[in-house]
Symmetry: D2
Subunit: 121 residues, 4 copies
């Protein structure tokens, strides 16, 4: 069993943080760059959610792509490439009964899509 061999040096809470953080890094770097518009955004949110929920210890992934940015940015081609400032994401991970929530949101003061632990058990 991989848990006993590889993860006995960290606590359950640390394990939940570890897996939630991997999944948030994965989400950003897998999907940033994807073409997206108001027509395709539901489908993309759904695929992000269902694919990342496969990862170890991940209970739930909520993804909101900002429709206002999709509406406001006009170009001849009527779509944009997904960027970090469009994303608001919550990843719920759990290990051994301990649950945490990792959040990513664009923080204007930081000019940066910040990832942090929003809730801890």
């Amino acid at each position: 069993m991989s848990d006993e061999k590889y993860f006995k040096n960290i606590t359950p809470r640390e394990r939940a943080i570890f897996e939630g953080a991997i999944t948030m890094g994965a989400l950003f770097h897998q999907f940033v760059g994807t073409p997206v518009s108001l027509e395709s955004v539901d489908s993309l949110e759904n695929a992000i959610k269902t694919s990342l929920e496969l990862q170890p210890c991940i209970m739930h992934v909520d993804v909101e792509i900002n429709r206002e940015i999709l509406k406001d940015t006009e170009n001849e081609y009527h779509y944009l490439s997904l960027t970090g400032d469009m994303l608001d994401v919550r990843v719920v991970s759990e290990y051994d009964g301990i649950k945490i929530i990792v959040r990513m949101e664009y923080v204007e003061d930081l000019n940066y899509p910040l990832m942090y632990v929003e809730e801890v058990d």
Copy 2:
């Protein structure tokens, strides 16, 4: 108008080939690596299709991810990362009434996910 300024040096058939090829390269490099299983595969196919159909001159994208590979490859985590050998894709592009189909399929003899023009008007 960007077409007159940037694309007057190639024929409509070349333009259709150009746009179909961009989209196939984009598809492979955007989505390879995504976690995928039998539960998530429909959702991922749908997002690939709807996002790539946004690109210029793209009429239709058909994506089939190989369920046999997903079934046969067992690991403790019950999912895989999407690879080129799981993908069978047709991209239909059209410019000025000229339609072409770009295909990607894994060719075992070549050990390579080959992209080629399957049909030309």
Copy 3:
């Protein structure tokens, strides 16, 4: 031989356009999202170039990532995620003696990183 089997329905010029376009689509969607700063930019340009030059028919890839954007955009973390508006790329592809150049550059009028055929034999 794959060329005779898969590519006999298109001309050498179309083949060069096809391969150049695949590589440009690949480049954008593989590397957009990568963390980049003034310290790492040479290394990233080099890896983009050497990896994409491996693709079929690709003779040369020139990548310039816009240093002004890297300098001007300040945040607490001193790096950005690579986006299409930072990229100026030329891909030289050749098939059977016919050479073409595919260009990608950010066109402000279009608010879009446009890919087009810059030169044809």
Copy 4:
């Protein structure tokens, strides 16, 4: 200051784990799919290292791409797409004097590129 506002609910050790894990997830999903061969592998390793070392709390990234796989897998095109089974990575992260090492290596028993905390302060 973002640390006080966003990270006061976790310990320094948890913060180091959090940032190391994000970076490992980012690395996998940013670079898997990149064309790679024996000629380009040094350049790709270098770009992975320098780009991921930009992320918060990351002191050091060591990446080894398996040359044996690159040598053994022959195809007409003389390159492969980067996959998880080629990667052996160590990410050293540090927060407030507490250092941890996140490792990714392909574990044959698991048929999976496992990410785990290899060392903790």
